[in-house]
Symmetry: C2
Amino acid sequence: MSGERLIYLPLGGAGEIGMNAYVYGYGAPDKERLILVDLGVAFPDMDTTPGVDLIMPDIAWLRERLDRLEAVFITHAHEDHVGAVAHYAETLGKPIHARSFTANIARRKFDDLGLPDDRVHTVGAWPEQVQAGPFRVGFVPISHSVPESAGLVIDTPAGRVIHSGDFKLDPDPIVGEAFDETLWAEVSKGGVKALICDSTNVFVDRPGRSESDLGPAITELIANASGLVAATTFASNVARVKTLAMAGEKAGRSIVLLGRAMRRMIEAAVETGVLTDFPRTVSPEEAQDIPRQSLMLLTTGSQGERRAATAQLSRGKYLGLEMKAGDLFLFSSKTIPGNERDVIRIINAFSEMGVDVVDDSSGRYHVSGHANRPDLERLHDIVRPQIVVPMHGEHRHLREHAKLAETRGYQGIVAVNGMIIDLTGNAPSVAGYVETGRTYLDGSVQVGALDGVVRDRIRMALNGHVVVTVILDEADEALGEPWCEIMGLPETGVSRAPLVEVLEEDLNQFLMRAEARTLRDDDRLEEALRRIVRQTAQTEIGKKPEVSVVISRLR
Amino acid sequence: MSGERLIYLPLGGAGEIGMNAYVYGYGAPDKERLILVDLGVAFPDMDTTPGVDLIMPDIAWLRERLDRLEAVFITHAHEDHVGAVAHYAETLGKPIHARSFTANIARRKFDDLGLPDDRVHTVGAWPEQVQAGPFRVGFVPISHSVPESAGLVIDTPAGRVIHSGDFKLDPDPIVGEAFDETLWAEVSKGGVKALICDSTNVFVDRPGRSESDLGPAITELIANASGLVAATTFASNVARVKTLAMAGEKAGRSIVLLGRAMRRMIEAAVETGVLTDFPRTVSPEEAQDIPRQSLMLLTTGSQGERRAATAQLSRGKYLGLEMKAGDLFLFSSKTIPGNERDVIRIINAFSEMGVDVVDDSSGRYHVSGHANRPDLERLHDIVRPQIVVPMHGEHRHLREHAKLAETRGYQGIVAVNGMIIDLTGNAPSVAGYVETGRTYLDGSVQVGALDGVVRDRIRMALNGHVVVTVILDEADEALGEPWCEIMGLPETGVSRAPLVEVLEEDLNQFLMRAEARTLRDDDRLEEALRRIVRQTAQTEIGKKPEVSVVISRLR
């Protein structure tokens, strides 16, 4: 092996759930040839990322080593795996390989940005393999909550690595391939150096359930409904959408797809042949002429997203359709931690309308797309790798998964974003650390998480904003009085006088007495004015606002 | 009854969980004498109330009818029931009645604000009663997750009403009174007009469990721990704190109370005699000299609050104490929806330290303080009221609880904040609507929810803030060029030039060409400048910021 090594380096997705991006390298240290597996996004929230549109992994490390990057491989079509490919495509400039459905979804992302999509290459399922430098990569079908999910078999001079992708062990996933234990045993039989493995559900002790378990309960629920029926799930869960639609059709209802993602996903699934026998759908316009008890709406927005179809329906009419007392709304989904408030807001809005809401709390209308703890153990034992490297999880998941592997005789190692793991030898080791982080897509601009832009937004949201304008003449004397503009602050404080007037009065008092050396010096003056605003505001309203100072000198 | 009527009017807590405030009235319409039951707060979040300190019910309706208000009664010491009494005490100016422990906590709130606490009156348990105008009110002990919780028996000329307060049916609550079915049957036997009833857990189908169920599991967990042990729960759950402390003592550990609320609650419980036999505690300073395997920390911040002891420990040293690999941290609590992200952040921080975190997911280390569905049915059947009015719940809870009551032969009515319910006749009816809402405590100022202050903060957080300053001379001509100050926005956009410069250039171009009638008119000029900033920003950075315009005229 003459000093060459096999490395694994997560740039995103290890130590967090979301924005997956995993690098593999092979070669002499710091000269490894590289491939990237997945390039996803995470979603912003008001607490940490107000105003941001998407969160992407910071790929600075990779950008500085583009000459060593061979290709990108995408395991499946979920946003946290494929969401950033188009945004970074020009930066990376490398071929992107995926199976047909995933490639279809990826190409749509290029189209959305007006970029040519010819970098996206469709790869067939195993035994087809793609050569990328020292790597040979094959897509091995595995069941998940999106069609054509794949684990990757990555052959390297240091042995075979298997990257599980997101998966569950589903014998009957309704759409797409069932988990094929024989195939997985087959690809594992020559010995597997490392299994890089989904950790999402490591804390769930019961075996996972099949997508096909839901059909009877959903069918029964909808058969018994008397008014309009609407149901939401992740649009990418094409199997679930199909189960819901079939249940609607069986109950004599016409199916309406509401929301762009819902239409896009079904379209992509039909185009690529993974979805067949989907019931005929009608448009929202056509639905106007159909009695409500003969309609079933399938809507986007299972996580309570405010602009999606579900939230729109909860606020009133949407494309001419409206929920009413006696109707049924089904959340065929799990609420992701952090989205509870938004989902509950919708449930209460429906409750006010008299709509009956059914969610997954009974366990009858949703199953997870990820392998539970016993399923992880089962995959470990099929693959029998030398090393298990947990991925796709927060730190607590990775740690638990590594412990689980160790108790079962595999070497486990916790590898978080930025850790270079050397997989070459008999035991995995940490070979170094690189800086990783997040990049925000904010409007049309990419902003670094540490640039201070979002920090300033959060500060304004917490503290309000005061802008002070002072004009100084040629002799460095104040021309007129200073002005204050406030935003996000109460108009009056304890003195009952307008806050702006109290601030301006105190600032003016200061300016009249200020020393020449202060008035001459922008930094010094700005600091003094800021301090006065914060002190006065503290006295008046009990909080210290953010302060911007504009000093204009007439010269 | 000569046209007199008995009314119920929730001003807070009905249609939401939090900031409970329930009005009862008796008398001629619009001349009813009034009492207020509970006056609590809700807690802000970044999504809807950034920067706000506390959310209180808007009591404008009551403020305009102070001459009719007799008294305030507080059922128990939770913040959502007692949190606003001191803030509104001067406005209301009426006696506040509560049992000993609740009164102790209420008085501390007056002390915190530097207000005299002599308005707070301690009332003994039933059969003691307080006369308040046409009402006679007694406190009937009922078990809950705080000591000395009470239901109120409210006798009126129109009959007896029972206000359940928050409750569970616990035969062995560890601290405070067990649920006494005989007593509740006794107060109900003469016939009860209406039961106004806690709805929190109406969707939980299994019977509630006793606080005493937890002792063995907690004791075993802590007995088996080898490093430092820390545990968090709501400080007001004095019974749980006691169970935890006893388990620690049994394992030979010294107890350290960390966090102000933890010390205050234990102090109040000891002062009022509801807590006895609490293990001796040591201070954080004393703890420095005790080996870590002989310590147990009881910490505030079970909901992930960033400044509380739990979060501080997850970030590193706190008062000289520190968690390390091999230590145990127990969340003896449930995460309230909306707080998941903050709690998970802490769990992951502990995971990174190698601390083992145990939470309530096994069901062994936490029980709810609220009556589950079968317990609600049981209370209904003990009280056998004519009417059930669900309270303390979101709309979905109230609706479900009313349905439950109806199926069991009681009249149920969904009454949300602002609805006046007439309970006088044989069937309850909606007698009117009043405006309700929320008041924010923001720093030291009370701000109306609709004042626009918080709306502006949210807008700045989402969109950033641009301030434009223009100086016009006596002839209404621009003096120099306009200045822009940006906050919460990227420094450069698509043109790669500084955003501020692009904005200033476009504004300057406009000013040079602007008509005199625009330059003369502040409103017109402001609107034009705002539009330019928003258009240019949209082109440059793909988003439209909030814009403040400062026009200074040298006159």
